[in-house]
């Protein structure tokens, strides 16, 4: 971004304002969606997180200039994201037989 000239920057400022409005609108949508009860609450969470991820990507791509950044930074972020997702997924699945044995019946009879 550092090599941008005056006109480009002026255009960017306009773009930032537009994105700001878009984010505000999507915030309203998030709130509204949460009151609209889908067949399961899990779906509500997924939809809510999709909207949040969309908003987050707007912030990341436009405000944080990730839409045209150097490859080095992408590499760092990709690795970080892989590890975060690993942390999420692996802790999630370690609940298969958590300390509270909810499926104790299935555990003894099924196997």
């Amino acid at each position: 971004m550092s090599a941008d000239n005056h006109e480009d920057l002026q255009q960017h400022v306009q773009k930032y304002k537009k994105i700001g409005w878009l984010l505000a609108i999507f915030t309203v949508i998030t709130v509204a969606l949460s009151f609209w009860e889908l067949p399961t609450h899990g779906l509500n969470i997924i939809v809510g997180m999709i909207v949040a991820a969309f908003k987050a990507s707007l912030v990341g791509l436009i405000f944080m200039h990730l839409n045209h950044e150097r490859s080095l930074i992408y590499k760092v972020l990709v690795f970080t994201l892989v590890f975060v997702i690993g942390l999420f997924v692996l802790t999630y699945y370690s609940h298969e037989h958590p300390l509270v044995f909810k499926d104790f019946d299935g555990y003894t009879s099924g196997h």
């Binding site: 920057l9 972020l77 994201l81 609940h95 958590p98």
Partner: protein
């Protein structure tokens, strides 16, 4: 000898130092919040209580989201304006950003305050009542002869005396002499350090000195008068009925004459009750509230009949009710129409913190034997509030830190602004990247904690 590439980009990497630095730092921040979010998932999946949904006030959270979005726009505009050398606009944008941080933190403080003063009580049958203490704390009246043990290393009488509401409580020491205790206890012990000698023989300071000479670590006093103690739970380690341990190590031990909780109830939740028909709530609140609750339940069940009867959301609507009306009669008169759906989604705490002392809520006096667990809406109440405070508290710290850094660039970097604006622009960009990250975290926090 200057470090290269602070202002200009290194040709082969295309980046200046601080930009690499901040992105690496943000990567570690992603892991920090990633760890917290994964804890959230883990706790939520494993929760053995009804995970609160829509329990927080949406409005402050919603306003805070907009405030942070605004500040994100202004901070990136500040950078662009500085790049174009529009100094006045740059400064304006920075001021708005910092102001937004202030607004955000004020709203946060307002939300926290409401929770600190809002009490949840889990009765022994699983029913949950929430409300406020009309006196501002849990009240215990202890008989005369109550033993007070003050830890000399960590405490002094001024701490526990703050929560004693008895007028002119009197104490005796082990030898049977009267001991003068007053609210100035801590001042006394300070004076004791600076003015050793014979300034007040009957004081606590003297007693403390005697004890220190005898190598004792605590002082035991006996109350001559009955003691009434109204303490916030954050100041004690809980009551066991006979013993109250204060945070400074003072232990008050005696027979309780009165050990009941007076609560202004603002919500009944029978989702976890063993038998909702015979819930202890009705024992205290009476049959009229039970009737109102049942009517409310039928009405909500009608509205949510598409749901399975065991669906968490069905239970949330049907098996809990907020109590708003000034009187039961008025409540009954008012119910019907859209009122209840508004109530169910209405904020459960926060806003009521301020009104809590009015006569809007039915007051009950709960017997200790019926109370299973109680706490204000702090991390102690349940793991939802625990992770709520951890996440928002840590996020709040980031907001404060980011605002301080940006304020430093705005107020104390004038020299750089004149001499090397390009370098300052880099600094603003880096500070801005951090600020956007803080916004980005909030974008996920808001729905996870307030909405879903």
């Amino acid at each position: 000898m200057d470090i290269p590439y602070t202002t200009t980009n290194r040709p082969d990497t295309g980046l200046y130092n601080a930009k690499i630095g901040i992105w690496l730092f943000l990567a570690s921040e992603v892991m920090l919040f990633g760890g917290l979010f994964s804890s959230y998932i883990f706790l939520r999946i494993g929760a053995d209580f009804h995970w609160p949904v829509h329990e927080l006030q949406v409005l402050p959270g919603f306003i805070n989201t907009l405030v942070l979005i605004l500040s994100s726009v202004t901070v990136v505009m500040a950078w662009a304006n500085l790049k174009m050398r529009k100094i006045a606009q740059y400064k304006l944008c920075m001021w708005i950003t910092i102001l937004c941080a202030g607004v955000f933190m004020c709203l946060k403080a307002y939300e926290y305050y409401g929770k600190f003063n809002h009490i949840g009580v889990k009765l022994t049958d699983g029913t949950i009542l929430t409300g406020h203490f009309p006196e501002g704390g849990y009240r215990v009246k202890l008989e005369e002869g109550t033993k007070v043990t003050i830890n000399l290393k960590t405490g002094d009488p001024s701490y526990f005396l703050k929560w004693v509401t008895t007028e002119n409580p009197k104490f005796k020491n082990a030898a049977g002499e009267d001991v003068l205790l007053d609210q100035q206890g801590s001042v006394m012990s300070l004076l004791d350090v600076f003015l050793p000698g014979d300034w007040d023989k009957s004081s606590f300071g003297q007693l403390k000195r005697t004890m220190a000479e005898a190598k004792k670590t605590s002082v035991e006093l006996t109350a001559v008068t009955p003691l009434t103690i109204v303490a916030k739970e954050s100041k004690t380690f809980g009551h066991t009925g006979k013993t109250i341990t204060f945070r400074d190590g003072t232990i008050v031990e005696g027979r309780a004459v009165e050990d009941k909780m007076t609560l202004q109830v603002d919500k009944v939740d029978v989702r976890a009750a063993l038998d909702e028909e015979k819930s202890l709530a009705w024992h205290y609140l009476g049959d009229e509230w039970k009737k109102a609750f049942e009517e409310h339940g039928t009405e909500e069940a009608e509205k949510h009949k598409s749901f399975d009867k065991n669906d968490e959301r069905f239970l949330r609507h049907v098996k809990q009710m907020e109590i708003h009306a000034p009187t039961v009669a008025e409540h009954n008169a008012k119910h019907g129409g859209a009122k209840h759906s508004a109530e169910t989604h209405a904020p459960a705490e926060g806003a009521h913190g301020a009104e809590g002392h009015g006569s809007h809520y039915p007051e009950v006096v709960l017997e200790r034997k019926d109370i299973g667990f109680w706490s204000s809406f702090t991390p102690k109440w349940n793991n939802y509030y625990a992770i709520y405070f951890t996440l928002t508290g840590l996020h709040g710290l980031h907001v404060v830190a980011g605002a301080l850094v940006l304020a430093y660039f705005l107020l104390f970097d004038g020299k750089r602004l004149k001499e090397d604006p390009e370098h300052l622009a880099n600094r603003i960009e880096v500070g801005g990247l951090f600020w956007h990250f803080v916004d980005l975290v909030w974008i996920f926090l808001f729905p996870l904690l307030y909405l879903l």
